[in-house]
């Protein structure tokens, strides 16, 4: 196949599918609830025992206390990603906190928190 036609097909195909998915509402983020957050955590870490969860007001992140320490679970597109809170830094942002993991495959999680939540979450995220 001529390279220019292949290029048009690939670029056009990616752009068209992206537009179609976005316009049909497929960019919505997963929403965590007090019921689903522990189940989602156990999906990622089946050996853990969840003690309690604190859900962010927007439902896109939750702090999870487990017998193996604290962890963070957050919306990742229509799904979730979770990490134990080890080997990370955090930075305050205008809308909350950005957690930077020292992990090339999971560089950061952006948390949208109001003022009250922000203080509570920072306290909870401090290493014991």
């Amino acid at each position: 196949m001529p390279l220019e036609i292949l290029l048009v097909l690939v670029v056009g195909g990616i752009a068209g599918i992206t537009l179609l998915l976005h316009l049909t509402g497929k960019s919505r983020l997963h929403v965590l609830t007090p019921d689903t957050a522990p189940r989602q955590w156990m999906r990622h870490f089946p050996d853990d025992t969840v003690i309690d969860v604190t859900i962010a007001h927007d439902g896109h992140a939750a702090l999870v206390r487990t017998q193996n320490g604290a962890g963070l679970i957050w919306s990742f597109g229509a799904d979730t990603v979770a990490r134990h809170l080890q080997d990370f830094d955090w930075f305050e942002t205008a809308n909350g906190i950005e957690v930077r993991f020292h992990d090339f495959s999971t560089p950061r999680a952006t948390l949208h928190l109001d003022q009250t939540e922000r203080q509570h979450w920072q306290h909870m995220m401090r290493p014991a």
Binding site: G13, T18, L21, K26, G77, A82, T106, P107
Partner: protein, 323 residues
Amino acid sequence: MTDQVSFPDAVQWAVPFFIAAILAEFLWIAVKGKGGRYETRDAVTSLIMGAGNIASGFLLGFIAYAFFMWLWQITPLDLGTSIPVIILCFVLDDLRYYWVHRFGHRIRWVWASHVNHHSSQHYNLTTALRQTWTYTFTFMMVVRAPLILLGFHPAMVLFVGGLNLIYQFWIHTEAIGKMPRWFEAVMNTPSHHRAHHGRNARYLDCNYAGVFIIWDKMFGTFVPEQENDRVDYGLVHNIGTFNPLRVAFHEWVGIWHDATQPGLTLRQRLAYCFAPPGYSHDGSRDNSEQIKAKHLARHPEDRGTPGFEQVDKILPKGQAEQA
């Protein structure tokens, strides 16, 4: 030796079909309200990985091709390009695919290339295109050497390899449940390949087939999809990025960090490169056998069911229960 043999690049010619099939699957899910999920950034990442795979073929494909042509020069055998020879080549290349794919899950160096294909938590036709950019660096092209030395022309070997990949495209879907029984018995199908993409303990390291599922049945790696254990797609430790560069290279970076940490023996450094994924020198990670054993400790009722038959042979019962 016949040098002037040419076959079309089947994968490139299949690109319009890929796009049309993705649109058809999306519409099917939208109309039926079942049969899979699409998410914008996940799908875009998969499509960009597919485009990058074609680009890496343009940039690095000459390395494998030069190696194959060198083998072709030294072999005294030439089976020609008749239809029966092409069919035989297709079947033998599928056996080659089975082993390369199995190595891809059992040797971390090869897994570093293949992992990106499993990095989506979705399973739809775009997932099929989430392909590696770094296959050349695995040196798995050597597994094709016997085919060329047997007298199959390199262009034919690459052609049937392309057909193999095109076959595997359509099995990346939840829109198809089960195919007819005879087909499920012989061929790789959406059901068999869904199990392969599972991160559930049961489905780890199973169903490596490309086209013919018989290889898994022959070599003891077949696990049928279970109605009572819905497949959870993705990686044991799912990645948290849609950045294609991070998707493509994250396991290579992981190998580098692990193998270069201070205080390790040479054996430990090599194990971080070539042992099965999940190896750690201090026992801080689990490989697939240990994950299965821990699952059985939590769910003893699964002992002996598909996907767990081998655990008791690898880890004695008491050890599995303590895991």
